[in-house]
């Protein structure tokens, strides 16, 4: 069965500290993995996708097929990174997209 697991509901770090938001998935096949972010009073929006291997706002995520993980990382957290982060998995055709439970990140000054 398809599943996305985000083990941490809340993550609190100080400004300038490294941050890692964990995501593990279960999928029989080759999924597409994504991170979405929801800032306060804004719509949920795509942050990055694994296939692009890009860095957005200093965030990167590497797909580890052996560990079935797609953790989101940033070396130096900023206060404006405080938001709700969702890991998502889509089937190869992009028809079905499921999300994890989300992790709320607080970056303290």
């Amino acid at each position: 069965a398809q599943r996305v697991t985000q083990p941490e509901k809340l993550l609190s770090v100080f400004k300038g500290a490294p941050v890692e938001l964990k995501c593990n998935y279960s999928y029989s096949g080759s999924p597409e993995l994504f991170w979405y972010v929801q800032y306060s009073r804004q719509r949920l929006q795509l942050l990055l996708r694994h296939i692009s291997r890009e860095s957005i706002k200093g965030f990167t995520a590497d797909l580890n097929k052996g560990e079935t993980s797609f953790h989101l990382k940033k070396p130096f957290a900023q206060e404006e990174d405080s938001a709700m982060y969702y890991c998502a998995l889509s089937d190869a055709g992009g028809f079905k997209t499921i999300f994890g439970a989300g992790t709320r990140l607080f970056v303290k000054a």
């Binding site: 985000q6 089937d91 992009g94 079905k96």
Partner: protein
């Protein structure tokens, strides 16, 4: 600026009443999703459509929930009768499938409909 539009933004109703939420996807998108957001479960997929055809509604309680796309510009999610446990934020999202020239998994979300059932 094309956006997904959802109505109503807020709805307070009493248990047993019918609730209908509406979504206008981005013009040209051929996939539409309904999600429910709660503190405990996060974003749960309720149903999704491709080219207006329902592909999967296994996430919905069938006895009370129904989802339809009467046309390409409107998707509806109906709860009848509503119960207090249905209180949540309901999100609609649209996107384009790979065959339609889109990026798989890149979804555009509405602002959500916050439902409170008393």
């Amino acid at each position: 600026d094309a956006r997904v539009t959802q109505t109503p933004r807020h709805k307070v109703t009493e248990m047993g009443q019918e609730v209908t939420m509406r979504c206008q996807p981005i013009l040209g998108h051929n996939t539409v999703f309904w999600y429910r957001q709660t503190m405990m479960q996060g974003l749960e997929l309720l149903a999704y459509f491709r080219n207006r055809a329902p592909l999967d509604d296994s996430g919905m309680p069938k006895d009370r929930f129904s989802a339809e796309m009467p046309d390409a510009t409107l998707a509806t999610l109906k709860i009848q009768p509503s119960e207090p446990r249905d209180s949540a934020v309901y999100f609609c999202a649209s996107g384009s499938s790979l065959l339609a020239g889109g990026t798989p998994g890149e979804l555009f979300f509405g602002e959500g409909s916050r439902l409170t059932v008393l």
